[in-house]
Amino acid sequence: MDTTLRVNHLRVEYPAPSEPGGVKLAVNDLSFEVRRGEVFGFLGPNGAGKTTTMNVLLGYVNATGGSAELFGVDVRQPIARQRIGYLPELTYYYRFLTAEELLRFYARIFGLNHHTASRRIDELLKLVELDGVRRRPIRTYSKGMQQRVGLAQALINDPDLLLLDEPTSGLDPIGRMKVREIIQRLQQQGKTVFFSSHELGEVETVCNRVAILHQGCVQEQGHVSDLVAKYQCDLEQVFLKVVGYPSPPRHE
């Protein structure tokens, strides 16, 4: 199987005057791979290093050591992001633009021609059910609608790898179901999904493999079914055991 995403001995330090040595180690010797066609769950408690790793993959932060590649290209090269879609946890879009203008802007960044961009915009606005309000400024949208614009922009280039940062956070149950359906549909199309989330039930439903991070290192990784069999419990209990949180007493 081809490797879509590879992180190799990644190390990220931040300047932190209050810490001993003046630096904070956010990620330490992190290694994992995501193969083509997988839905990969990237799990960990707050402060485990998930966001930092995501920031390195998206080129926002340079690694102190090690390497990260998307489709075999170093993430520091902008071209590494040509075949990815990214959905941030919260929606951050130009509020003075309409959904259609925003998608056209991002389509131009990806180098799509006018005809292809128009077709993709029509398809995506229908998919996320914003076709009827496509010419309204984003500032007039509800939070759920803005999240759906986010999903549409993440898919504008028909990406081969989708990076999702807490994609269902802040969505109502219908919104969550929609996102789950889209992830499953992308998987059926052979796309790869890299998925950071705290919603372990959802992760268990949609992910093939997971990596569990704690204190900047991968503590456990593997197929969801293998981990559940190994620890003899559901993914939530696996997660708690791996991060060293004492399990609640069982009531027989």
């Binding site: 920031n55 902008p78 951050y92």
Partner: protein
């Protein structure tokens, strides 16, 4: 290059949808028309007086538009966090910066055309003639000058808070515009180390006063020789390139998180 143009188009769209430009244009027009209605000089003096006031207001209004538009681009991207989905696309920070600059410069160019059209109408109504070559040279040189100002404001936005950047760039531009050309005389008088320092400042600053040909329009003098216009254009482009290169270096190293 398409990515740079895409970013620039969003900057222009933003300026069109914001109210700043319309407010400044209405203010400029209102003050000019008010001044034009006062009749305590003879006919020739009134025409010159109205043109002088109108051009001064145009210079001030477009300076404010250039500095505020360019100065807020990168801080606003960071504050609203729109920079994150943008940089998650195949675009480099240098391309984002170039697009922001191009957008600001083109947007300021559009406002300049609107302002000078108004000035042309006022001037034509008062003097019944329109020295087109002088006007075209004035718009072109003014636009080049605002390109330097926009590049300076973009660079400043990477070094200072938006409020400090706005104040310092406007003060610096007005300072250079009004006293920049006299600094060499001050240096000659000062002598010694301070004299050398003032000379260093004199040669380092962009001399914005060379782009100001308002007097030629007000008094109906001959147009500037085209050779001088070409030299001034080269001079402006070199300063813009230097300021943008410095901004690109800073922006590439600036942490976003």
């Amino acid at each position: 290059m398409n990515r740079v143009f895409a970013v620039a188009a969003v900057v222009i769209r933003e300026l069109i949808r914001r109210k700043d430009f319309y407010v400044l244009f209405v203010l400029t027009a209102a003050i000019t028309l008010l001044m034009g209605s006062i009749t305590f000089f003879n006919e020739d003096d009134i025409a010159r007086y109205v043109k002088e006031i109108c051009l001064l207001l145009i210079w001030l209004a477009t300076l404010v538009i250039a500095v505020t538009t360019a100065g807020r681009q990168l801080p606003a991207e960071k504050e609203s966090r729109t920079i994150f989905p943008l940089l998650a696309k195949p675009i480099s920070r240098t391309e984002v910066l170039a697009g922001k600059f191009l957008g600001c410069w083109l947007a300021v160019g559009i406002t300049l055309i609107v302002f000078y059209l108004f000035f042309g109408v006022i001037s034509l109504a008062r003097e019944h003639e329109l020295p087109l070559v002088n006007y075209l040279q004035a718009v072109w040189l003014h636009w080049l000058m605002l390109g330097i100002v926009a590049a300076l404001a973009l660079l400043g936005s990477l070094l200072m808070t938006p409020a400090a950047n706005l104040s310092i760039v406007i003060l610096a531009v007005i300072g250079i515009w009004t006293v920049g050309e006299f600094l060499n005389r001050v240096a000659a008088k000062a002598g010694g180390v301070s004299g050398w320092l003032i000379y260093a400042v004199y040669y380092a600053i962009p001399h914005l006063e060379i782009f100001d040909i308002r007097e030629r329009i007000i008094h109906g003098w001959e147009p500037v020789p085209w050779g001088a216009v070409i030299l001034a254009s080269g001079y402006a482009l070199v300063y813009m390139a230097m300021l943008l290169a410095a901004a690109a270096l800073l922006f590439r190293r600036k942490p976003l998180t």
